[in-house]
Symmetry: C2
């Protein structure tokens, strides 16, 4: 069915799959959606993506803007000659891959939005998900790695490059002797709480750990230190914790979040005396995402809307 309101295209470019969708500005419901495996040939992949969007235009009408939320590192500096490219990734075929170039060639007349996958997901959660109505919040994803987006006054922080929250240094809890799993920093947040770190500490994957495995409590306490660090640095109104680790295998998401919240309250020790953190507010301060697996591509659509100036 052809739309009477403008439609937007979103591309979530991830490490294992590229998701494409078209949607309108009214909800996170998508009009059409497709996904492609992230092969070693970005040119061929982008040609398939372009063909899919051309076909989508025939069904749903012209696309007003396209947004791309991509794995990185990315060149996000619009004044740079390599703006729109992946930069130093070790991912085969993708080093210096031009993502925006082929899209611009295929859709020369429409605005293109471009940001990191985690910034995109944060915008999606802000527009339609767990941070709706908030201008200042943080979205972190804890999975194979840890990434984070800081949304300040409605837009993601870029600054010099983009945030790398997953690598903040961490304290040692209770004489914990685990050396950490980050190849660069050892005991940074990612080195203690990402999936591979939990696996390295416990000797098996997080999903196989019993609910009372002591690793879960340590992970929740390290997570709490990291979330409190983000709170002290940025004073967000909410922190959304996404990614696979938060599902917490046999422990379960609800129990994991209850533990996270308890440890954040304990580590704050009443210092920030806001009801949002210190009282019952904590249940809506640290929350799971609302868009689930669609956060990425919804975020890409949000980037398209921002690029078009229609939001």
């Amino acid at each position: 069915m052809r739309q009477t309101t403008p439609i937007f295209g979103g591309i979530e470019s991830g490490g294992t799959k590229v998701v494409c969708a078209v949607g309108d500005a009214r909800s996170a419901t998508m009009l059409a959606r497709a996904q492609f495996p992230t092969c070693d040939d970005p040119r061929a992949l982008l040609a398939a993506v372009v063909a899919w969007f051309k076909e989508a235009e025939r069904s749903h009408g012209p696309i007003a803007a396209l947004g791309v939320a991509s794995f990185g590192p990315l060149d996000l500096d619009e004044r740079s000659p390599t703006y729109g490219r992946v930069t130093t990734t070790p991912k085969r075929g993708w080093r210096n891959a031009d993502i925006l170039g082929p899209l611009r060639a295929a859709f020369p007349a429409i605005p293109l939005g471009f940001d990191t996958d985690v910034n995109g997901a944060a915008l999606g959660e802000g527009r339609w998900g767990a941070a709706r109505g908030l201008d200042d919040f943080i979205y972190v994803t804890v999975g194979t790695g840890i990434g984070g987006a800081a949304v300040v006054r409605g837009a993601p922080v870029h600054g010099l490059v983009h945030p790398e929250m997953g690598h903040i240094p961490m304290p040692v809890l209770d004489g914990d002797t685990f050396a950490g799993a980050c190849a660069i920093h050892g005991r940074c947040w990612e080195g203690l709480c990402a999936g591979p770190a939990i696996h390295a500490r416990a000797g098996r994957p997080a999903e196989e750990l019993a609910p009372d495995d002591p690793a879960w409590d340590l992970v929740a306490r390290y997570m709490a230190h990291a979330l409190l660090t983000l709170t002290y640095v940025l004073s967000p109104r909410r922190i959304i914790v996404g990614g696979s680790v938060r599902k917490a295998g046999q422990l379960g998401e609800a129990a994991f979040f209850a533990s996270l919240r308890r440890h954040v309250v304990a580590a704050n020790a009443g210092y920030i005396a806001s009801a949002a953190i210190d009282g019952v507010g904590i249940d809506s301060y640290i929350v799971p995402p609302a868009l689930g697996d669609d956060a990425g591509v919804c975020g890409a659509i949000a980037l398209a809307q921002n690029a078009s100036g229609s939001f």
Copy 2:
């Protein structure tokens, strides 16, 4: 001499003194300046401040806007009934003290700006000092306590309350057994690197320590971990380190900053591969303030300019 360009009033309200000044938009040079001890009677103090600005208007012409950069915690929420007040301070006479109310009564027709002392100082450094031309930077002050301001896209981050960067948790270095001096968090950044923490660790004030006292190297390394945390969370284009501790007594400011920069580069371990951090750029990445003791009142003038919409 009466000014032909608009003039602005700034009030830096600190724990020991309140500095008032009038200036114009062109430089950090002040046309007039006065200071008052921060007594236990905010009403009487504000009456003296008002009288001083009324007198300044007779000499220099009408003030277009007033800005206040104050110690906190403050209510910065313009929709709050207690906006413009100090909130839970233990400082005698200042709990719930209304700062903006008496100023608004005395100057009913002009815009009033209001922010924390550290946010004000950051704006001052951004407009006339060490972060001129940068929209994304951090200003921290390390003295009796540690405070920090995050400037994102030209404006300080507020969020839920305001940042409390001084209380981020810290790793333990080299089996360091010092328990930290923060009454609430023990080994947070402030508990390890503020003046009283150095005093508690070394048994005497920082100014009395020999340049090769091992405390200096530990302080520089903990500082580096904190500055790297801020870099990973916010991706600033520069970090300004102000406050008395950075002068580093007998070690000296230049040697202290050289040590800070070396330890930041080491702790980053090449992870953020930007020339701004990893190469010679580090010398202009971590810097002392340029406005010295005037940063606070210059920042208050910057708040006045922002409130008037003239910047």
